[in-house]
């Protein structure tokens, strides 16, 4: 048994809205070793952010509701903590970087104070000391300390994301969750920020959950990859497992729909159709109507987990009947 920083088991979360019930997460299992990075990949609405928020227990309630499942973070059962205990965990054991740096900073509070706040909460430092420490962290992410006194609107997008990273790292958390940290940034800035994150991750020896829909980003920073679709993890494994030994048709679809830098002439094949209506998930496999390999059973029965190794598994009917089935994949990344 390895030492896991994070263990999510059979997590079901739904949102009860006026229009109906949205089943956001339908049985998620994730395990992550200390110091490792997990890439969580999927389309918008697949449940990546909900998964991330559930680790901090920040899924808005109402309308969100945890139906069942457990999350163990650094040995602590998250679901059983009081709100007060959670406040001590957030920012200290686990921090999160949100998707849009433009909106993730409080516009009316000075940047320095926003960083210092976490420090003063978790390290019980005086205001001056927290600010001094915040300055160090700010400089660590490459921003001159004298900009502490400025407000977020005086920063560019990339700078803001650095500030957010500074906030997240200010108390040296054991797990960092990054929700598409680079999506909203210019491509050139993206690389810088990713580089910074990799560097800091090494330095602090953190585990990380990197949420992204960009497989390139994932390939660059992740050790393990989990592919999400309609509130389920349809395939999970090491980077090599998923990238080289792709098992799930959806994963294959994702690879087919990104440009191949090595083969610029290669045809892009988008996944047809749209993700199923989250208010009304089909009784069988949710990917059924978009899947090139769909069979009759897919319409009626939910697929079950099929393991290929200790780390690599998928949820697809294809392998129930023929374990040796191989996708007709057009391109496979080297």
């Amino acid at each position: 048994m390895k030492d896991h920083i994070l263990e999510i088991k059979d997590l079901h979360i739904q949102f009860n809205t006026d229009e109906g019930v949205v089943q956001a997460l339908n049985g998620i299992d994730i395990t992550l070793e200390r110091g490792k990075t997990l890439g969580l990949v999927g389309e918008t609405g697949a449940g990546k952010t909900t998964t991330a928020l559930s680790i901090l227990r920040l899924v808005p309630r109402p309308p969100g509701e945890v139906v069942r499942g457990s999350i163990i973070l650094d040995g602590i059962p998250i679901m059983e903590q009081s709100e007060y205990e959670m406040e001590k965990i957030r920012g200290k054991t686990v921090s999160m970087i949100f998707q849009d740096p433009m909106t993730a900073l409080n516009p009316v509070i000075k940047v320095g104070e926003q960083i210092a706040e976490a420090i003063s909460i978790h390290q019980k430092l005086s205001k001056e000391k927290s600010l001094a420490k915040a300055r160090e962290v700010l400089e660590l992410v490459g921003i001159p300390g004298n900009r502490m006194q400025e407000y977020p609107h005086q920063f560019s997008g990339g700078m803001k994301q650095r500030v957010i990273i500074a906030i997240a790292l200010s108390c040296s958390p054991k797990l960092l969750i990054a929700d598409e940290p680079t999506t909203a940034l210019d491509v050139t800035i993206q690389a810088q920020v990713l580089e910074l994150m990799k560097e800091l991750k090494q330095k602090f020896h953190m585990a990380m959950v990197m949420i992204s829909h960009d497989l390139g980003v994932v390939a660059e920073v992740c050790d393990d990859v989990a592919i999400m679709y309609a509130g389920k993890i349809v395939e999970q494994g090491s980077l090599e497992d998923v990238f080289l030994r792709t098992k799930h048709p959806y994963t294959e679809g994702l690879f087919n729909s990104i440009p191949n830098i090595d083969d610029r002439k290669a045809e892009l094949i988008p996944i047809r159709g749209l993700m199923s209506d989250p208010y009304n998930l089909p009784s069988g496999c949710p990917f059924f109507d978009r899947c090139d390999y769909a069979m009759d059973i897919c319409r009626t029965e939910k697929p079950v987990k099929h393991s290929f190794s200790d780390t690599h598994f998928t949820e697809c009917h294809l392998y129930t009947a023929q374990p040796e089935f191989s996708l007709k994949s057009k391109k496979t990344k080297e």
Binding site: P60, Y84, E87, K88, F98, T103, N106, P107, Y151
Partner: protein
């Protein structure tokens, strides 16, 4: 911005008031006046000059603090307004403080407990609150608290007790709409990413609301407070009438009944000026609570 707008306001009001039928000179001189005296006075007052000339003269006098003399009492309009204005100020400012003190906490609690019983009752009351005409609310409060319970005087201005009912009456509508705005902007704010950022830092729930959410939610609330102040000034006309409060509002109604044109003009101008100044203050306050706005005033 203030000065051109005020010039426009004065011209507009001057123009509207000039539509009043009836001859100012005969109004001042009364029933027994001779034709000659009327003509003489018309000439003195320049009533036969073009409107724009009369406006120019009025502005020139106004700049020197002279708003003319009342037709019915002959007293200086400016003097009368100076005497009455503090009373209106006392009433409206108390009412706006009352509104802010009540509405912001209720709005915040409602938003943080959206769809709770508190929220539902609060929002229904707020809606009823903006639907109640202040003069009626005033009458009902008089019936309950002055006539039946005898806790407060039913009118007049004598000590702090007499301020309670009129200020409360005046505050109801603005309390209701500031509550509604605070709630909805709070709801919007607490869905923002930076609130999640704060929570993810481990900031306690209470501090998330007071430190992170409120500061942002106040920005639209402050705008509404400014607008409400205008509505409040209008409401003062009615509230002062109901409660016999010796302010500018009642002066205006009485002057209208007496056809005392210069006094009506003076009252409208002073109301509009107060409203504009309040909005200026709001703008400054705005810059104070929202660092994104580069204040031109500070």
């Amino acid at each position: 911005m203030l000065i051109p707008v005020m010039l426009g306001v004065i011209f507009l009001v001057f123009f509207i008031i000039s539509l009043t039928p009836g001859d100012a000179a005969s109004m001042i001189l009364g029933d027994g006046a001779t034709e000659e005296r009327i003509i003489e006075l018309r000439d003195d007052m320049g009533l036969d000059d073009p409107l724009i000339v009369q406006y120019g003269r009025y502005m020139w006098d106004l700049l020197r603090g002279n708003m003319g003399d009342s037709y019915s009492t002959g007293r200086s309009v400016a003097g009368e307004i100076v005497q009455r204005f503090p009373n209106t100020f006392k009433l409206t400012v108390t009412a706006i403080f009352l509104s802010v003190l009540i509405s912001i906490p209720i709005g915040v609690i409602s938003a943080t407990k959206q769809y709770s019983l508190f929220d539902n009752i609060g929002m229904i009351l707020a809606l009823v609150g903006i639907s109640m005409p202040s003069f009626w609310t005033g009458l009902i409060l008089i019936i309950i608290f002055a006539l039946n319970l005898g806790w407060f005087p039913s009118g007049g201005m004598k000590g702090i007790m007499s301020l309670v009912l009129p200020a409360f009456t005046l505050a109801i509508a603005s309390t209701a709409s500031i509550t509604r705005t605070t709630r909805s902007s709070m709801l919007e704010v607490i869905r923002q990413d930076y609130i999640n950022t704060a929570k993810a830092k481990g900031v306690s729930r209470r501090k998330v609301i007071t430190r992170h959410a409120l500061g942002n939610a106040l920005i639209p609330a402050v705008t509404v407070i400014g607008l409400e102040f205008g509505i409040l000034l209008g409401g003062a006309v009615l509230t002062e009438t109901v409660f016999s409060w010796p302010g500018i509002g009642r002066l205006m109604v009485e002057s209208i009944q007496r056809k005392d044109t210069p006094m009506v003009l003076g009252c409208v101008i002073i109301f509009s000026l107060s409203f504009s100044i309040v909005n200026l203050i709001i703008d400054i306050l705005y810059a104070y609570i929202d660092p994104r706005i580069k204040a031109n005033y500070t």
